[in-house]
Structures are given as C-alpha cells and as structure tokens.
Symmetry: C2
Subunit: 438 residues, 2 copies
C-alpha cells in the first residue's frame, strides 16, 4: 500500500515579511523577498532597494555582488529605524540571495516615475513596463474596482453568469465583428453579452458578468480598445429605467468608497483624485443636453447623439454647477439606440441612457423591450429582418419580465478615474488595430 507523501517542509528559519510591515519588526531579524528595484555600490558598502508587492525597503550590506536590477532576491537582516530611508526603516543585511538573476538590463528604468520613451515602446515591453510603479498602481486600482463591483452586486442579490464569447450573430448588428471559423461555420466574437444577460434575467432575475468583449473597430482612438473588460449588469422586475440608474448610482458610490479605503496610496502616486459623486447623480434628457451645450457654450451638436466635445462640455457644466463628475443623459431617441431599447409612449424616444464621467461616456444602459409583440413591432420599425433576429426574438415568447441593465467598460472607467489619457494604458495587454503582442 502506498503512503501519501508528506509535504516537503520549507526549512526557513523565518517567515517572509512584506516591506509594508517592517515597522512591526523594528530591531528584529526579517526575511524579505522581492525584486532588486535599485542598487548602489559605494566602495565597500552596497545599497539594495528591494521592491515587493507592498512597497520598497532599503537594504545595506558589504562585500555583496549585486546582480542586475529586476533580479529576484531574498534579503535577511535586521530592521533599524532610519528616518531618511523610504518607509522609515532600513535593513542591515546578514544574508543576501539571488533567487533568479536578470540576464539582461531592463529596457526601462523601473524606479523612474516618467519614462522618456515612445509610448509604443512601453507597450512592446509590457512584460517589464508593467512592473513600473504607475502601471502597477493603475492595474491595482482596476482590480479593486472590479472587486467592489462583484461585492456590491453580490450584496444586492445578483448572480454572476458566464456567457459565450463565440456567437453566431452580433447583438448590436453586423458591424465591427471579429469573424471566426467555428468547425466550418461562420462565427463571431461577442460584442456584448446583451441577449444572454437578458435570458438570464428569466432565470436569476438579477445578474452580472465580468468578461472580455470584442469590437473590430478599424480606427485607433484614445478611448477605444478592440478587446476590453465589460462589467455587465441586468435586472428584472423593474418599473422603469430609473431603477437601473438608481442601481448604477448605488454601485458607483460603493465602488468609490471601496477605492478610498483600499487605494489611497495608488491615487496619491498617480496624482489622481476620487470623483465628485453625489448620492443622486443628476439626469438630463438628451434633447435638453444638446440645447444646454448650445445655450451655455455655443456648441452646436451634429448627429443624433452627443459628440465628444458636447460630452466634455456637459460634464464641465455639471461639475461646476452641480458638483458632480457624473451625469446621466436620458431619453435617447430611437434613432440613436438599438431596436431592443424600450420605446417611450409616442415612439420617438426610448428609456435608454448613457452615463458620462469626466467628459466621456462610460455606460450605455436602459430598459429593454420585454414583450414579444412590441419587439416584433420594433424590428419592423427599424427595418430589420425578423428572420435573422429569430434567435433573439424567440426568447421573448416566454414571459420575460420588465428588465433593464447597463455595461461599464472597466478600462475606460479606470482611465478617467486616474487621469490616464489613453485607455490602452488602463489594460495590461491591450489589443488595438496594430497590436496583437505581447
């Protein structure tokens, strides 16, 4: 009979300490692990700055041969209060080990706050540039933002779902779809989980999904990604889109409170401020918003929606006059919304809304059509082909409750929160028109 192995016991005299906890070990021996952030050799004395996930620590020793920066290292030594060292403590090294030596100098100096390089270079070397303090802080904030999204919705009784990204048709129409061969059939990458989250309202009433979505947009802009993380929400048994906006309002208040509690250091490092976010985000119907930017700023908006300049001006207005970095733009006309948007009586407008934040749209949402006959009417009104939408409309034969929802682009929200001009830098490994690597 075979006896199960017992685990190999790591025989470290000391457990690992994180640099942020050094204050608790003043005068004691500690063992640190991390990356060699910076090094200096002053004749017989060597200084090594060790960076771990929680911060940095200055370590000093003698007779050491320090490897290239970014090598993984382990330092054992004594903690001494040292007012001039970062964090207020220094480690007097008694043992220095290289866990894994860098074999090539980093193309970017990780400790620097600004890199004087072509922005494309930063993306080419993303596997090291992400170790940069600002890049790390950005993605850390995003992780906490996504965590707060989960936690708030869980607390409100939502169920997380996972829906297909390989689909037979686009939810928003045929444009901007990545095509795929699926065992000989034409398939696409999902632009959004729209239909699927609606179906799941029939199962769990309140659902959310955190997953990538795909837009094959040819044009490169600072606000678009070809692959991004979509934070999708859908809720049933609503009275109107006001229930959906009220949920998004509560959710954002909750997310910002979480970021305030967990990411103060990251916001400080990035020179960013938490937004002005009232408990009741102001709302303005789209038609009034177009008039407002004309009246207040002389800006004439083309098209049926708002243009980027109008979004910027409207946000400026609501920040200055109402103290809010957010504003809901409501009652979009049908001409600016997809066929599944719930029409208002009269038929010109819908119960669709956008949420603008610091000059840019971060959400599209609204109430959806839930009745089969109304949906078929809408398909005719939009002059769409009922047969090509049969896979969508079929679902609504089975008593779908009144429902609505919204989606937030995680990277766009992160970028606006942190003052990052181009949304590509709010994603670890962005995909754009010209970038498929790393």
């Amino acid at each position: 009979m075979t006896t199960p192995e017992t685990p190999a016991q790591a025989t470290h005299a000391l457990p690992r300490t994180l640099t942020r906890d050094l204050g608790r070990h003043d005068g004691q021996q500690v063992r640190l692990q991390g990356f060699l952030h910076a090094r200096r050799d002053l004749g017989g004395v060597q200084f090594a700055v060790l960076r771990d996930v929680s911060g940095v620590a200055q370590c000093v020793g003698s007779g050491l041969h320090l490897p290239l920066p970014e090598s993984s290292i382990e330092v054992t030594g004594t903690v001494k209060a040292h007012p001039k060292a970062p964090g207020g403590y220094e480690i007097q090294i008694t043992d220095f080990r290289v866990l894994s030596a860098a074999v090539q100098a980093s193309p970017l100096e990780i400790p620097k706050m600004e890199w004087n390089v072509n922005p494309e270079t930063m993306l080419d070397y993303r596997y090291v540039s992400l170790r940069g303090l600002k890049e790390r802080a950005t993605l850390r904030v995003q992780a906490e933002l996504v965590r707060a999204f989960h936690e708030h919705l869980n607390a409100e009784g939502f169920t997380e779902i996972s829906t297909p990204k390989i689909v037979s048709a686009g939810a928003e129409g045929g444009a901007n779809l990545f095509k795929l061969d699926y065992f000989g059939e034409q398939a696409y990458l999902a632009q959004s989980p729209q239909l699927y989250k609606q179906i799941m309202v029939g199962v769990f009433e309140r659902v959310y999904e955190v997953a990538p979505v795909y837009r094959a947009e040819e044009h490169a802009t600072s606000r678009h990604l070809n692959e991004y993380l979509s934070l999708d929400v859908e809720m049933g048994f609503i009275d109107s889109e006001e229930d959906v906006m009220a949920l998004e309002n509560r959710l954002l208040v909750s997310i910002m409170a979480h970021l305030k509690a967990t990411c103060a250091a990251e916001f400080a490092l990035l020179g960013a401020a938490l937004p002005a976010l009232p408990d009741f985000i102001p709302r303005i119907p789209l038609m009034e918003a177009r008039e407002l930017v004309h009246r207040e700023y002389g800006h004439v908006v083309g098209g049926k929606d708002l243009d980027p300049e109008a979004e910027r001006l409207l946000c400026q207005y609501y920040l200055e006059r109402h103290g809010s970095d957010f504003v809901f733009v409501t009652k979009y006309p049908r001409a600016a919304r997809p066929f599944y948007a719930y029409p208002e009586e009269g038929g010109e407008l819908t119960r669709g809304f956008d949420l603008l934040f610091r000059g840019i749209e971060i959400t599209s949402g609204g109430q959806r059509i839930n009745e089969y006959e109304m949906l078929m009417d809408s398909i005719r009104t939009y002059k769409l082909n009922p047969e090509s939408l049969a896979g969508y409309s079929e679902v609504f034969k089975y008593g779908m409750p009144p429902h609505g929802g919204f989606a937030i682009g995680a990277e766009r929200l992160t970028a606006r929160l942190l003052g990052i001009a181009n949304v590509r830098y709010a994603r670890a490994f962005p995909r754009d028109r010209n970038r498929l690597t790393p």
Copy 2:
C-alpha cells in the same frame, strides 16, 4: 438653467417580498413578483404557483384568467399559514397582474424535475430550460463556487487580472487553436492565460483570473467543452510545487465551506453531497499511481499519463482507503508535460501535478521554469523552435521569481460536485463541435 430631473417614483403601496420571506409576513399583505410556475383552475377557484429567484409560493383566488405558464406576474394578497402548501404558506390573492404574458407554451414543463426529451432539445431551448429547477440550481452553485474562489484568493493577497483572449500564438503549442483574422494578421483564441499570468507574477506576485478559454477539440466527449470558464491562479516566491498544492488545498476547503453555507437547498434538490475533503489532500507520484492501479485493480495504463479508467480507479482507492474525494498526482514526467514545467533534478520528472476529483482530472498545475537559461535548455530538449517561442522566453530575461500555479475548469468541477454526467449541462450556453447556438 436646467434642473436635473427627480426620479420617477414608483407608487407601489407595498415593497416587493421574496417568497422565501413569507414566514415573516404571516397574516399580512404582501406583493410578490415572479413567473407563473404552474396553474390550476378548479371551477370558480384558481391556484397559481408563483416562482421567484428564492423559491415558490402557492396563491389562490377566484374569477382570475390565468395566462400561460412562465408569464411574468405580480400577486398582491394576504399570507396565511397553510401546512400543505410548499414553504408552509399560501397567498390569498387580492390583486393579480400579468406583467408580461407568455405568447407560446413552454416546450418544457418547467416544474418537472425530469424531462423526457432528447438532451439536444434541452440545449436547443436553453433560454427556457435554464429556468428549470435543476438547471438553475446547477448554475447557482457554480456562481457561489466562483464567488468563493474570488473571496479566498482576495483574502490571501492575490490580485485579479484580465489578460488577452486574442493572441498571436498558443501557450500550449499549435494544436486545438481556433483561428481568427485580426485585421489581416493570423490570430488565435487563447487556450489558457499561461504566459500572461506568469508575467503578472512579476508585477503582483500573486494573481488570479476568471475568464473563458478556448479549445478547438474536434471530438465530442462528456468532459470537454470548446469554451469554458477557467479559474487560473499563479503565485511567486514559492519554494516548490508543494506551496501551490497547499494553496489549492486551502482554496478548495474554503470553497466547500462556502457552498455548505450557501447552497444546501441546491445540493438537496440535486441529490448531491459535498465531497470528502481532508485538510491535507493525499499525494501520489504519477509513476506510483500507475503501479497502484495495476497492483490493486489489475489495470494496465497505456501512454505516459493516466487514462480515464486509471483516474477513476485511483479516486476510488483514495476515497475507500483515505476518505478523500481528491488526490494530487505529482511528479509528472517531462514527456507528459509542456516545456515550461520545472524539471526535477535528473531531468526525467517535473514539478507538475494534476488534481483528481471523483474520478476525473480537474486541475493541471505545477512549478514553472523561471530562469532564462533553464528555459532555453528545455526548449532544446523538447526540440521546439526557440524563435517561435521568443515572445514567451523573452520575459524570463528579467529576473522572474520562482513561481507556479494551476487552473480549475469551473464547469468540470461543478459537474463532478453535483453528479452531472456531461459537462455541457454545467454551462449556461455550451459550445461544442456541433453547437454554436443559442
């Protein structure tokens, strides 16, 4: 100046009550919303069973015209204790509203526990079959499982990441990749976030991802999906793969405790039992495991790995002799592992492991090669082309710490937990060789 709108106040006399909370309202008026689960008309008296996310409630009234089952309804009425009604209470209807009428009878009788239909029909009508009690319970358990995964790893200091699913090369080699045209370049859907999660260990030390992955496997089996939800983990500064197995062990204990606390009703409905899971899951090296199934059961294993029958027998053995539904199979030979698996001294074996659960592999994991020179040696040993792997190996020039990780297929774990024979029924909208819809 425009005044922001105030929200349209829904003027319900009563807030909505969930059916599970009826016991708190005995003798009171309540307002319920949900689906018409079942209906009966006994002459002048109508019985309507209302189903909401939390359960069902029997409602009784007179003079009602009940719509088709699955219609969305709202019932207002008085709660009366009624021992024979499901949940112990009945609603005496004072107001009955149809929120959205089903216009076609459901192809499946939702209240039935078993449907006598072709399994493909259940998938064809997934948008209604998911409302079935067993289907809903299955996905509810999966949602709680994924939630516990997040919460445990957050508590252990892991950071959630989001990595690209459109990639320029496969992480596990060229087979079984879905191909994609990316603006004229050949791209693929990611089989796993392997390289990306390793890179992110250099940033956050401990990371996880919950996201879909893709396998273009031609053969249809009960254990494979072409798109599934991968629960990926990677951790740095480990001593060996034992640290990784210890983490997975703690994680599973945590997940099962969470399911016990939140999903007792779902397990009861599905006739499933929580697994036998010790605080120390037994381990056995692969070579010994192959000998064991031969010696104990006379089963000779072909190939270099375990075959499905060997997995089943090994699990039977560990359940009967060691009281564990789980067993780690360790020290896989290099021939059965990818080039990035960390070799043991001697070079024949690796620090790679699988985790078996109730007869099937649910995890592959292990320590990875973190040193550039060792990686280049391994690429040569495997007779792979260093140039085609340059995008992978480049990363290891910059001092990657010792690290390892694992991935759990969410649907496969859910299926084994709940006794679901085919993994397709543990995913809301499965994709397989012949299925691209709904």
